[in-house]
């Protein structure tokens, strides 16, 4: 385990950004968001960023290819794949888990080469949550914020940041900053971990009953009377899906630039009326169906295909951001007893 005093953390950032692009949470006029590190940029102390960290591997819009059109001729142009190495610092345990879930989607056959390329170029540095919020419910999905994962995991006490490499890439990263890091005892962060664990035990959303969300119970859940009431106030905006670290739906579109076509993909949202619209029309015509899709996917379909892993990491962003305060926790609580 390594350590560095917090008052000289800038030297760590400088070291990390010397060979790679460094991104870290930065305060904005409204909440924190990941920004590129430059001299003088300060690490935000915020618990979580507005947007999740999935943007680094699965950006909101991504160019897939270009078609150059001249008169009646069309030429296909492969896009330049980004090849810069980067490190994302300050990822929380929940977002770190989301990458594992996204990997299941994008790295299974057929492999999403765009995602894979970005994934191969990124190193993740996680930081243990010292002050969890009331909206945090990651523990329900087996996430332990005191063991936040990633290539390098960090813990922070009053004046020191402790760093522990979890992977080879993590080792290499720490090596590159060896000059500014000091050795630390492997148990140096234990005090922090204990403190955080004690707080976690007091979080209001604990022990959610997820037992009803099984493949066997799919039809019961699908047919539940409760969806109508739950979705009643839903405005059909995409906030929950766009701040969600695990939502992975996208749409591929062609944009006519005037001198060609740009084929790009962008996040889609199951909340949108045009979601999965195809030539024959739209399979989910009402908001209740789209709303149900979101939660059935996260709680039933995804686990059914992925060894029971729920497609939610309990980051709490949707709890904080939904304009009408409807969210997955309310859905779980409402449907938890649906199989009785």
């Amino acid at each position: 385990m390594k350590q560095i005093k917090l008052d000289s953390i800038q030297s760590l950032f400088k070291a990390l950004s010397a060979t790679r692009t460094l991104y870290l949470p930065v305060d904005t006029p409204a909440g924190a968001d990941f920004k590129k590190y430059e001299d003088g940029v300060l690490w935000s102390g915020a618990l979580n960023t507005n947007r999740s960290a999935k943007d680094f591997f699965f950006p909101q819009t991504e160019n897939m290819m270009d078609f150059k059109v001249e008169g009646k001729t069309i030429e296909i142009i492969e896009p330049i794949r980004p090849d810069e190495d980067f490190v994302v610092f300050g990822v929380r345990a929940c977002d770190a888990r989301s990458f594992e879930l996204l990997d299941k989607v994008f790295l299974c056959d057929p492999v999403d080469t765009y995602y894979k390329n970005r994934r191969e170029h990124g190193v993740i540095v996680t930081v243990c949550c010292n002050k969890p919020a009331e909206t945090c419910f990651c523990t329900n999905f087996g996430i332990d914020p005191t063991a936040p994962g990633g290539d390098v995991a960090c813990w922070q006490d009053a004046d020191t940041l402790y760093l522990q490499a979890n992977t080879e890439a993590g080792e290499a990263l720490l090596q590159s900053a060896a000059d500014v890091l000091a050795e630390a005892d492997d148990s140096a962060a234990d005090g922090v971990k204990e403190t955080v664990k004690a707080i976690m035990a007091k979080l209001p959303i604990q022990n959610l009953d997820l037992s009803a969300f099984t493949e066997d119970n799919l039809l019961n859940l699908f047919g539940s009377e409760q969806w109508k009431k739950l979705s009643e106030a839903c405005l059909g905006c995409g906030t929950c899906t766009f701040v969600c670290p695990t939502c992975q739906c996208y749409d591929i579109k062609d944009f006519d630039t005037g001198h060609g076509i740009q084929r790009f993909r962008c996040w889609d949202s199951c909340m949108y009326s045009e979601f999965t619209r195809c030539a024959h029309g739209n399979p989910r015509l009402s908001q209740v169906e789209r709303f149900r899709q979101r939660f059935m996917h996260k709680l039933v379909y995804f686990p059914a295909n992925n060894n029971g892993d729920f497609s939610c990491v309990g980051c709490g962003r949707c709890l904080a951001k939904c304009p009408i305060s409807m969210n997955i926790v309310k859905v779980i609580k409402a449907l938890g007893g649906a199989n009785e």
Binding site: G71, K72, G258, H259, N282, L285, S286, E289
Partner: protein
């Protein structure tokens, strides 16, 4: 994908001089969808058109672009060419490479480059063109004239003489309007009744004219060629068919203290009355607010004396529905209320009168049998002061009107002149801001009043009229030319009150969806070129409802409106411009934004049942555009937030395609 033909015209050297037409054709040939691109010396010539027609047939073209002169010049020509070859005429687009290119750019390279871009824009547009078919709507060969004054009568007579049936709706018990109340007309000094009443009789006797007097328009539906109008016939308590107009009932009626509106309240009439001797229809009317039988149930004398048995106290308002192809508005004017002009003491002294009241005081059928007498004591007045522009040309609009009422200068000159002629012992003053006499023989008339009849014209405004204890009126005024304050002891003061549209005009405009200006005058379709038409198709304007006018002007506009109506009614059906707006009902919010900006009233709403996206059914309010009424301006398309409203021929996507082609 369209199959597009591009035809580049040389226009002799007009285009070819500064645009390389071969290069343009060559460049446009490689545009997507273009199957043939060629050039020719004169595309509009017989040979050029044949070239286009052959290409349409040979290459099975679905759209053509002609790069030539302005579409204002030959769009119609090439549309006909396309139609002749079996292509929908609206699949033609023109790229204006003459007026907007070759004629303004001297450099061949620059001109050619721009011509190619303009050609691309036209190609991009024609890709999105759709065949349009002009609709037809039948014309009901009957006209409605609203208002039975001289404007309405003249319009009705002209239309009827052309052989089309006309209905006149008049709110008063008789037609005749304001002209019937006027004594003499300027500048000829004919007796108004002598020239008006024969026309009233003509109208009454015309087999094509039907007069609904004492009636009002209650509801208007439909559109040009096909209006459906509900007319309310107010209860007269007299059967107009049975009544002979003998006048016995009027004579016997015991209630004789009702202010006589025909004489502007300056004398009395009975509760059952005929407005004046030459009234048309000459039918008695019971005033229910004055009739003893109606109020108390006791009397019934008129019914007893009526030999024709025409009196019917139980009569109710009745409604008639009729269809019309055209509607003429001739609702006329009224002098404004003078309550706000306290400085002239109109409400304080009976000897301060309006000019219209003065007409009655000099009229042989008026309250004084034509002898000019002071209303207060019945004595002969010696000094008369006429005040012009009372309520006209007012600034600030706190009171009065900002416009000139146009007729006051001339009738005041007439009144002053007649006064001096009949009563040479009188002294007559006229206070004016300007004397406006544009009109045939008008200025000569005014000068006669000054020069031959010694009327004292003073430039200046009257500040105050104060009734004196001796019954005279002290007029305080300024003489702007002499620069002095005047005090005149007058026996009578005559106010040339401004005129304003009749109060029935505003609700009528709403029913007709015809637009009005801020003064409630109807607006014309074009102030210079279409002065007798309302912007609402099928609605025409006659007389003072459109703006202040004298009699000859009114009559000429009336005949002008009639000519327009005849031109419409003579058609069996109307061909509609297919480049009109249309609403996508699935996207329409029913919010009325489009309706509010439509100058033609072409948009209506209906509640329709829809299958909603979520499989439920719901009643939704949606807009629909009447293609016979819409003129295709596109105001609605921008007012519509959802984009449900679009315009044929100039659709959102077509315009954006042009933008894209130009900017790329």
């Amino acid at each position: 994908m369209q199959r597009i033909g591009v035809f580049v015209c040389w226009c002799g050297s007009n285009i070819a001089g500064t645009v390389d037409v071969h290069k343009v054709a060559e460049a446009l040939k490689s545009e997507p969808g273009v199957v043939i691109a060629t050039q020719y010396q004169y595309m509009c010539s017989e040979a050029g058109q044949t070239l286009i027609k052959d290409a349409i047939r040979d290459h099975k073209l679905t759209g053509i672009v002609v790069c030539s002169c302005s579409p204002r010049m030959h769009e119609a020509t090439f549309r006909k060419t396309a139609a002749a070859a079996g292509l929908n005429p609206y699949m033609v687009e023109i790229a204006n490479i003459r007026e907007q290119c070759s004629w303004i750019h001297k450099d061949m390279e620059v001109g050619t480059e721009k011509a190619i871009i303009l050609g691309r824009a036209a190609i991009a547009k024609v890709h999105l063109n759709a065949p349009l078919v002009a609709g037809e709507s039948p014309v009901v060969k009957r006209a409605l004239v609203i208002g039975g004054g001289i404007a309405g009568i003249q319009t009705a007579l002209d239309i009827a003489d052309a052989g089309f049936p006309v209905d006149i709706v008049e709110t008063k018990p008789t037609i005749g309007g304001k002209m019937a109340q006027i004594d003499k007309t300027f500048p000829t000094l004919d007796c108004a009744a002598c020239i008006l009443t024969p026309k009233m009789v003509d109208a009454a006797q015309h087999d094509k004219i039907n007069i609904y007097a004492y009636s009002e328009v209650a509801e208007v539906k439909g559109f040009v060629g096909n209006f459906s109008v509900k007319i309310k016939q107010k209860a007269r308590m007299v059967d107009p068919v049975k009544c002979t107009g003998c006048g016995l009932c009027v004579e016997k009626c015991p209630m004789k203290k009702v202010p006589n509106e025909f004489n502007l309240g300056m004398d009395k009439r009975s509760a059952i009355y005929i407005p004046f001797a030459q009234a048309v229809p000459k039918v008695a009317t019971i005033d229910p607010t004055a009739c003893l039988k109606m109020k108390t149930g006791k009397c019934g004398l008129c019914a007893t004396v009526c030999e024709a048995g025409a009196i019917d106290y139980t009569q109710q308002d009745s409604f008639i529905e009729e269809k019309y192809g055209a509607i003429v508005v001739a609702t006329g004017y009224n002098p404004i209320n003078l309550d706000q002009f306290d400085e002239f003491a109109y409400n304080q002294s009976p000897d301060v009168v309006t000019s219209l009241e003065f007409e009655r005081l000099t009229n042989a059928a008026g309250p004084t049998a034509g002898t000019l007498l002071r209303p207060s004591d019945g004595k002969h007045p010696h000094t008369l002061v006429f005040v012009q522009c009372v309520g006209s040309r007012c600034d600030g609009a706190e009171k009065g009107k900002s416009y000139c009422s146009k007729i006051c200068c001339m009738y005041t000159a007439k009144h002053a002149m007649l006064c001096r002629e009949k009563y040479p012992d009188t002294e007559v003053y006229v206070f004016y801001i300007d004397v406006r006499t544009p009109g045939k023989n008008f200025d000569e008339f005014y000068r006669r009043a000054v020069e031959e009849y010694g009327v004292k014209y003073i430039k200046g405004m009257v500040g105050k009229v104060a009734p004196q204890a001796d019954g005279s009126l002290l007029v305080q005024a300024s003489d702007l030319i002499e620069g002095e304050q005047l005090k005149i002891k007058a026996d009578m003061v005559v106010l040339a009150a401004a005129i304003e549209p009749d109060q029935s005009a505003r609700p009528l405009a709403t029913m007709l969806t015809a637009s009005m200006d801020t003064n409630d005058f109807f607006t014309e379709a074009h102030p210079k070129l279409r002065p007798v038409e309302s912007p609402t198709a099928g609605v025409f304007l006659s007389g003072c409802c459109q703006g202040p006018k004298d009699i000859p002007e009114t009559v000429s506009q009336a005949s002008g409106a009639a000519a327009k109506v005849i031109g419409l009614l003579v058609k069996d059906s109307l061909t509609c411009n297919p480049c009109v707006a249309h609403s996508d009902e699935l996207m329409c919010n029913g919010c009325s934004a489009c309706e509010k900006v439509c100058p033609y009233g072409a948009i209506t709403y209906q509640d329709k049942e829809f299958r909603m996206p979520d499989r439920t059914t719901a009643i939704r309010r949606v807009a629909s555009v009447n293609p016979a009424v819409c003129q295709g301006c596109g105001a609605c398309t921008v007012a519509c937030p959802s984009g449900a409203m679009d315009l044929n021929g100039f659709s959102n996507s077509q315009i954006m395609a042009e933008v894209d082609a130009i900017c790329k």
